[in-house]
Symmetry: C2
Subunit: 764 residues, 2 copies
Amino acid sequence: MEKFSYIGKDMKRIDATCKATGEALFTADLALPRMLVGKALRSPHAHARILAIDTTQAEKLPGVKAIVTAKDTDGDKWGVFKYTQDQQFLPTEKVRYVGEEVAGVAAVDEDTALEALSLIAVTYEVLPAVYTIEDALAPGAPQLHDVYPNNINVHVVIDVGDVKKGFTESFLVREDTFTAPEDAYFQGEPYAVAAQFDHSGNLEIWMPNAGPHLKAKPLSNVLKIPLNKVRVRKITIGGAFGGRSEISPADVICALLAKKAQRPVKIVYTREENTVCTRQAHAMITQIKTGVDKEGRVVARDITCHMDGGAYSSTGPIATSVPFLCMEQAYRMENVRYNGYRILTNKPIRGMFRTHGRGFACGVDIQLDMLGEALGINPLTMRLRNARQTGDLTPTKSYVASCGLTETIEKTGKMSRWAEKFGKLPPYHGIGIGCNSVQTGFPMGIRGGSQAFIKLNEDGGVTVITGIVDNGQGNDHMIVQIAAEELGLTPDDVQLISADTEVTPSDPGSYSMCETFIGGNAVRLAALDVKKKLFRIVAEEFGVGEGELSAKNRKIFITKDPQQSMSIAKAVRMALTRNESISGEGSYWPKVDWKREWVKNPYGQLSETFSFGTVICEVKVDPETGQVEVLEVTASQDVGHALNPKVVEGQFEGGVAMGGQGGMLTEYLQWHEGRVLTPTQLGYLVPLAIDMPKINDIIVETNDPKGPYGAKEAGMSVAMSAAQAYCGAISNAVGVYFHEYPITPDKILKAIEEKKRETEKSNP
Amino acid sequence: MEKFSYIGKDMKRIDATCKATGEALFTADLALPRMLVGKALRSPHAHARILAIDTTQAEKLPGVKAIVTAKDTDGDKWGVFKYTQDQQFLPTEKVRYVGEEVAGVAAVDEDTALEALSLIAVTYEVLPAVYTIEDALAPGAPQLHDVYPNNINVHVVIDVGDVKKGFTESFLVREDTFTAPEDAYFQGEPYAVAAQFDHSGNLEIWMPNAGPHLKAKPLSNVLKIPLNKVRVRKITIGGAFGGRSEISPADVICALLAKKAQRPVKIVYTREENTVCTRQAHAMITQIKTGVDKEGRVVARDITCHMDGGAYSSTGPIATSVPFLCMEQAYRMENVRYNGYRILTNKPIRGMFRTHGRGFACGVDIQLDMLGEALGINPLTMRLRNARQTGDLTPTKSYVASCGLTETIEKTGKMSRWAEKFGKLPPYHGIGIGCNSVQTGFPMGIRGGSQAFIKLNEDGGVTVITGIVDNGQGNDHMIVQIAAEELGLTPDDVQLISADTEVTPSDPGSYSMCETFIGGNAVRLAALDVKKKLFRIVAEEFGVGEGELSAKNRKIFITKDPQQSMSIAKAVRMALTRNESISGEGSYWPKVDWKREWVKNPYGQLSETFSFGTVICEVKVDPETGQVEVLEVTASQDVGHALNPKVVEGQFEGGVAMGGQGGMLTEYLQWHEGRVLTPTQLGYLVPLAIDMPKINDIIVETNDPKGPYGAKEAGMSVAMSAAQAYCGAISNAVGVYFHEYPITPDKILKAIEEKKRETEKSNP
């Protein structure tokens, strides 16, 4: 008999059909009786003092049911940490970016709501603003918040080993600066929120979110409603990518409007609002100094990174250390220093992002290529020599329990025929490699881990009750698959109640692809708890030990004599007639050293597990147009154990699209004085399926000792590695190492031009 | 410090405000996007063969989205027990009562749905029908079902002691026949059901129900959908009274329509449909023979009862023994025989009813009065001499763990000044007494007892997750009150998720007022489980034993040194950081001997607890009009422990309204050939608040050893006792013992007339 019925098998996701047919409903589709349309009035200024808000005319407009301004709040400031409490969801004194919420309106229809917005008169005193890291740091620059002198929101310091000595002992040292502008999350589903209050003052609120419990606590705090009266829910979610974790001003405005109007209210963002007013990724300027020995092994590294945080803290303080941590997980080094600065500017708020820090990660990797070239070592070998290994401690002292990075490098190298290609390709053809790692087993945002309930129905079917959110990555299927596997049921026997703070127990949220490791473990433990109870009954009935039993095909049977079996339905009925519990519980909390001080100075076990990825990319560059044609991508990741290989491959391919095809070729925001010029797909170019190259997927399995069935996460390490590989490949094709990302045709043409001039200079 | 913070205190029910203001929403208020209006086509014949159903014309009507007939079913028959499976929800061969469902239509609006109904052509062959018990039993009578020869649906036999010998040894024996026609449940909320299917074939269905799990299992069976894909829910419920327990044809039709139309469908019954096509109470003919000794103690009793069951089994087979069981619980006797017959007629279906068996119970009581009169013993003394006592075994061998019947008799007697009034009132004034008992702690319909989950929120608030339904009697408040009391929280800290088969664990349902005893115990045990976990943490922190702690006012403290305390919120946060479980579970299943064979021959422990009630009623009869003016009612019941005395009193008063004021004065259905002539309030007179007399409530507490805080149920024993007391009082006023109920003015005038004639005859 096979070990697993479902784990490790290609399965159609339980949500596949409804998404393919369009039957899946999203928050914007939600219709509640007597529901009003909500809209937010937004600041047209990047920095201005609010002198007055006059809503008199708007209130008189027929069909307007409620208007809220800062007057309807008590002016509290919100932040993820105590020392980052700097954001009012309806500001009382100042607006700090173009698009910041100033007022909210609920009306009987959209036209009326929009007309009401135009009737609200806000008197501003426009203030000088800063739009770049450099300007924000300049002496005498306008200050965004009193509590952050020089506009420095947070300064992360890491200093391990002896960096100075390391450089002294290095055979070769290089120092480069890399830059990348902001990119957008561009979720398929624009942000939407619907809220209603019942007659007992209970708030029920729906929105796409990465974790309802992550939303509930701050909503409870800000709205001053006890946590048990805040019910955060979700419908189908069309992508998060790190941008759906926190409370949003729209959540608060929608709830305030619903309360004031005493009717349900729904706010649906336009595409422009979703780009500008949810979250954006940080622009970064990264100085990297790396010293290597003769074999290309990194001896010392010193990185200073400045991130443009926009106007408020958001999750930015946590994000300030993440690019460094990903890097130190992927590559060995003993002496390393990091200074990470998050700088505030009068631009929209920046948060955690699935491929957070292209400028940083591509810099690290492309510099390895430069050093390798100087030493005569090819990029793939440079990665192999520096690759993290199982059993290592990272510089900040995380123990790495499983690491398949070397295997991913070797396998992608082999499949992409690296050895036959690198340095041997025709002109303007290039091949590049990138490696990265993601921490994917740590608790965030909420105390406690993930907990799951499983209740058994009379006919042997079960209901799994869990806080886990599916943002599109397949978590719903993962939960059902694990429960079915462990209980010997079919996925059809498993009903799922997920991500509803009133019903489902606490869960830290679906960020950093942690749900497989954390939530998956909780669900598995709950299933084991149920199974134990059922086995006890069957064991007694058959007169055997509980350890002699197995569950499969809706039956519990004696492992050595499968004919001796009892249907699970019968075992449930026996439990019922004996008045025994027919429910189970499981909870999982990764053991880490995470503390709040960590934000500024991370040290100790960061995560219980890490994923590792390698991508190799082959491109052809058109020297006339600067266009890049991606010929082939090979993506590999150590996923621990691929629970559903088809889903894992889908995540790899989505990662290549996001990190490489979009992130390194076309995606970036264009600005004019703090105003986004490219908020829609007309200007912000997200790759479509038709734009994608051929992708080879290689799944590497290391069976993490603590992962559920050995699993970690799928696709996140590939996403960033793809950016690095694309960068390497284009640099290799053009023969110039790019320092500014993404690598758009104009930069390529300019590089080709400069290279020609230099070649002409040296060969006049 | 007081023992309890909330238990035993008068509290405003958590649902009071929303019901008083009209904010509470019922199933009929439910609006789902794209929802269709559903309607049922009903038989105009009491008995007919269906030859053909032609839906062609109806299908062509624009706006009609789905039509279902028996063709859309597989013709399965449903019943509570295997041997009572006799009802098709859309019959394939015959209709058996006027109003039976024949087809269903879903259309865009009500007008279109009604027009579509008129376009469905059903060809019937009308069959001879039977409308009374006598006709149904007559030789050669038309037969309703092949499986029930002579139209006898069920025959219950009980024979305890030696009845023949008992009569021989009796000092006085009487035999009488008592009759009562059908009454209607007349819930404030007409029946309504809304159903929708999601893209995975999951059915979500809302309706007023007495237990969602009671509905889910038969819906799963009939619709052939696994139990985990049937989600039964409820909104606010406007009364059940025993009539919302079972699956209804409307549930099945609505689900079939929703499936066929692929859109949500809602069916809302008219008042006429609610009266005719949900459930009605059984008409009964009861022959009672009672022998007593010189002191009025019952020595032997022999009862034969024929109940008119209407066209199908429904819960009728269970209901056939209930009037007897209530009686044997209330009154002691050693030799007793019972033959209960449920007879099928071509009339609507009869089910369990809150005051099931007026004809039976009033007969028993009024015969006691007659026997007492003959012996010179007043009615109150007759009851005291026969009253059930704590520690007794009933004739069918139920152990009675707590019984305050004697106390209720004594206290009502005292407060109503019985001794000063009985036999001493002016002409046409009368006083009467009735006693009854209800089994209120037994599992029904579903295997297993009630189970509850409690989950703790980060701020110390909790969510209680339970299958318990509130039909209007206050169960929601009861749950919240118990959880708050046990956990030392306020009711506001407790959020309630109830009665949703997908989310809430199994529960037997809210019938016979069992939820306080069964569900209340489960919630209390869940709260104790949570408390134990919290106490463990606090005890460790304070270095004391867990037994030294108490919880009150959101704090856990050392009982002997309350200053040493920790907030519950802090204890929760400590649990979270220690990764300890922050949820609890409790389940309760009354230990009884209930088996399926019991339906026909009950024997052994029927229920774990019983309530006992006494009502005394004083009336004035107008000899000119036959109108009864109720001067005062004194109602008392042994409720075990009154958890919320205000609610208990409300239940007493509702019981008097239903059993006495309505049930004995005005409420009965009028018929013409199987057709209800009085389906609305125009003809069926339900007492309004303004019609109610002064009521004195006396709560008697016996602290049941197994009840939660000693509680049993509130009001059900009062409801039937009220009918008996009204009957006794009117009989006492007129000087004639009434044998036919309700006692309407025409019967009173006739009795006065006859009495006059007799008096004239004996004094010519």
